[in-house]
Amino acid sequence: MSVNSDQLIDLVSVKIVISGGFGVGKTTFVGAISEVEPLFTEADMTDASEGVDDRRNVPGKVSTTVALDFGRISLDESLRLYLFGTPGQDRYAFLWDDLVEGALGAVILLDTARVEDCFPAIDYFEDHDIPFLVAVNLFDDVPRFDLGEIREALGVRDDIPVIDCDARDRQSVKQVLVCLLENVLARALAGQNQEVRL
């Protein structure tokens, strides 16, 4: 233990991953609720890839970097929530393990004009048994669909929430996060109050 670890004991940081296709509004979503302007950095594949980027059939250690944006919310003096947007293309899904490890859950944003764009994210979070919901971002210029129809098109389980959202609106974004957290909580309670490691 470090010398001043006592003062750190109660400090907790958690993260929620914001996913979905390219241009679906992830940065807007993060910016609507983050206490700071969304921050940008790069993730490099060298520390995450074991040569799995098969599409280009090149060895693992190349200099591919992807942009990553994130926001921060101080929930109280000792609890900090980070929102991380996944890189926008499924060819970068190999990076997600690194970004997603320990996540509370994930929000998948959906654009009804390009429903198929969110399939890689749904597959990923289902495969990794990570709690998620689908939030249909209400763009002004696209037709509205019944949420039941969208659910059917996505083929997600009944316990996966499919809800509307406006990624520009703080209250709407907040509702999406609360809905996700309710889902995370329900899963934790269903696990007979077993504690899960972050």
């Binding site: 400090l11 907790v12 958690v14 520390d47 970097t65 994130f70 929930l75 609890l79 320990g102 972050l198």
Partner: protein, 119 residues
Amino acid sequence: MIADRHPLEPDDPETTPVIRPFLLTGGRTRPAREGLRIETLIQARTLIPQGIRFEARRIATLCQRPTSVAEISAAVGVPIGVARILVADLVEDGVVTAVEPGTLSVSLIERIRDRVREL
């Protein structure tokens, strides 16, 4: 860091230059310790020690207040993987400490939910 690479050019391992950010790490691409997540909070254990320079000093300065690996990456202007290596070195040297992830208990999830609702 990658501004000099044309964004539309496909990466060609034959022509892509050496990853310059990793010069900061002496060419290492693995951190000295595992377990540093992007949201892991890093806090300085001491005032900024004499004799540390450049990125290490910047990180030690940032972490006078708890700062996540991702925020360090953004502030120092290096990719996440490089930030991890630099931070891991500083942990090994006793300059900073990494806050261990807690246990995701029901009560913690409830607390997070309630706080988000209050935003």
